[in-house]
């Protein structure tokens, strides 16, 4: 091998390595553009949550202990909060599936144009303030509200039903707020299912019902699962609607955390509750990421 050839090879290797290091440097510079936003999120969202979480491991005397956790799992009050939170979140999720799945399925059978127009009925509530919608439900469900007066004028009930300021009211209001979060990912998934597959299944001798359950339904599961997880996470930590429609009788986790701090100034117990809520949410987020991909859920 001649030395000239060696030289050329050495130089091209050197070129490649400078190019590579330059590319690396450029990528790092560009990544620097992300830093202000990433730092803002880290400092405002993540840092205080970590700091709060650390508080939960100290007792009132300032020594490391698990007292706060023992207390929240032993106290009947906190246990009741967990039970109510799960009860409501599970009911809301189940009702959302029962209402949302048939709606999405029906929309996929309509023409693209009609379906797009009908989706406005989902998007308008989705974009409307939670507070405004909760207010509407307070008005609808109150003792002499529209629902009670309508039912009474038809003679269906004699006494007004207690619909607001209790568990029923909280669940109705929350279903209304959460339903779009189930519909949007589910409908996006259903729209992408190739309807030829259903026709093929029927052509090959399946009944329409069989084709639905054995072809369409399994293919819609990723979207359904994403919707379920989203609704369930958001319900677990939901504050506004149960606080207003529950009328003080329904105490979910988020309200308990808030009142433990603002009323009782008990940061230790509140942060322990917060850690439990955070862990529940993170497990759900991780699950959803595995099945659906977080980025797919939010990027369309």
């Amino acid at each position: 091998m001649s030395s000239a050839e060696d030289n050329t090879r050495a130089r091209s290797l050197q070129n490649a390595s400078t190019l590579k290091s330059e590319e690396y440097r450029e990528r790092m510079t560009l990544f620097g553009l992300s830093l202000p936003a990433v730092l803002a999120i880290l400092i405002v969202v993540f840092l205080p949550i970590f700091w709060l979480s650390s508080l939960s491991f100290y007792n009132a005397a300032g020594a490391l202990s698990m007292e706060n956790y023992e207390r929240i799992f032993k106290s009947a009050l906190y246990r009741r909060t967990f039970v109510v939170t799960f009860q409501i979140s599970i009911s809301v999720t189940v009702i959302c599936v029962l209402l949302g799945y048939p709606l999405c399925y029906w929309l996929t059978k309509l023409s693209d144009r009609t379906a797009a127009i009908l989706m406005v009925f989902v998007l308008v509530p989705f974009w409307t303030s939670v507070l405004v919608r909760t207010y509407a439900w307070l008005v609808l469900l109150q003792r002499n509200g529209i629902i009670n007066s309508t039912l009474m004028s038809f003679g269906i009930i004699e006494e007004p039903l207690q619909l607001a300021h209790n568990l029923t009211g909280s669940i109705i209001g929350m279903v209304h707020i959460m339903l779009p979060f189930l519909i949007l990912p589910l409908y996006a998934t259903m729209r992408n299912i190739d309807t030829d597959l259903i026709r093929a299944a029927i052509g090959l001798g399946s009944s329409p019902r069989g084709a639905f359950w054995r072809v369409f339904f399994p293919m819609s599961l990723p979207g359904l699962f994403a919707g379920i997880v989203l609704v369930f996470i958001l319900s677990l930590g939901f504050y506004v609607t149960p606080a207003l429609l529950g009328g003080g009788r329904v105490q979910m986790l988020a309200q308990r955390i808030e009142s433990t701090i603002t009323v009782y100034s008990n940061w230790g117990a509140a942060s322990a509750l917060g850690v439990v809520l955070l862990l529940l949410a993170l497990v759900m987020i991780w699950l959803m990421n595995r099945v659906f991909g977080l980025d797919k859920l939010f990027m369309r």
Partner: protein, 267 residues
């Protein structure tokens, strides 16, 4: 024959449920609009007499006006800060290595799904140390942090559909990186940036839980005032305020839909 009859019944059942669910979604959202024009001193539906008295009550109340002003200032500031920061972040992430991109992207999306009460309590305790509670600055910073993820996610999805070679072509023809970014890339993802800005605005305007803890005094937001007022009584003034908020939301929604349509036509 029997088969076809059964399918028809299935189809009808589905249509009835579908329409019922759509009404369940839309009616409670819009019902406050007719109620806000009621002339009675209590809430009624349908209104027996029409008047603008609740709008007058809203616009003549110094407290409600100051709260509205606070909310609008904070929402505009949040949009002005979060949109460029979020767009730059999306661009930086788009250009960096896949490994960095994926992990930072996950980090950036998490605030959307983390229970907002945790963010609220955290920010409240951080601000207690910094003396930022009950200040406009504090509100803008907190709202910017929760609006950023929405901007980043929308702009990143816009960049995903954009042919990046165009920027490389501009640079090989002599444009500097910044110039290529500003004159070639930005105009092409303009629609995603606008959608992100709309999202940032509405996120800030409608935010309740964080504002409830960190805003107050002269700087209470409209959502904080509404929440506190709803806890005590059903003041019909809230119906007038709600109608105004619904109009803002629908305007923003129409804006986003129009942007989406123009984007599709461009393709």
């Amino acid at each position: 024959m029997e088969q076809i009859g059964k399918r028809k019944i299935d189809g009808m059942w589905l249509t009835v449920v579908g329409i019922a669910v759509l009404f369940f979604l839309i009616l409670p959202t819009l019902i406050v609009i007719p109620m806000s024009f009621s002339g009675a001193s209590f809430l009624e539906f349908p209104p027996t007499s029409l008047s603008l008295r609740w709008y007058a009550a809203y616009f003549n109340s110094p407290e409600w006006m100051s709260a509205t002003q606070t909310s609008l200032i904070v929402a505009v500031m949040t949009t002005v800060i979060a949109t460029p920061l979020g767009s730059l972040c999306a661009y930086g992430l788009h250009c960096s290595t896949p490994r960095i991109r994926n992990s930072v992207q996950a980090l950036v999306i998490i605030p959307i799904v983390v229970p907002v009460i945790l963010i609220a309590v955290g920010v409240f305790s951080l601000y207690a140390k910094l003396g930022l509670n009950y200040t406009l600055t504090g509100l803008v910073i907190a709202h910017t942090a929760i609006a950023l993820p929405f901007v980043i996610v929308t702009v990143m999805s816009g960049l995903k559909n954009y042919d990046f070679d165009q920027e490389l072509a501009a640079r090989s023809l002599g444009a500097s990186r910044a110039m290529a970014l500003w004159t070639i890339t930005v105009p092409q993802v303009k629609f995603s940036i606008q959608t992100g800005a709309f999202l940032a605005f509405i996120t800030s305007l409608d935010e309740v839980v964080i504002s409830m803890l960190i805003s107050g005094g002269d700087n209470a937001t409209i959502t904080r005032r509404m929440f506190n007022s709803l806890r005590d009584q059903l003041d019909p003034t809230i119906a007038a305020i709600s109608t105004c908020l619904i109009i803002v939301s629908i305007t923003v929604l129409i804006g986003v839909q129009l942007i989406g349509r123009r984007k599709n036509i461009d393709k």
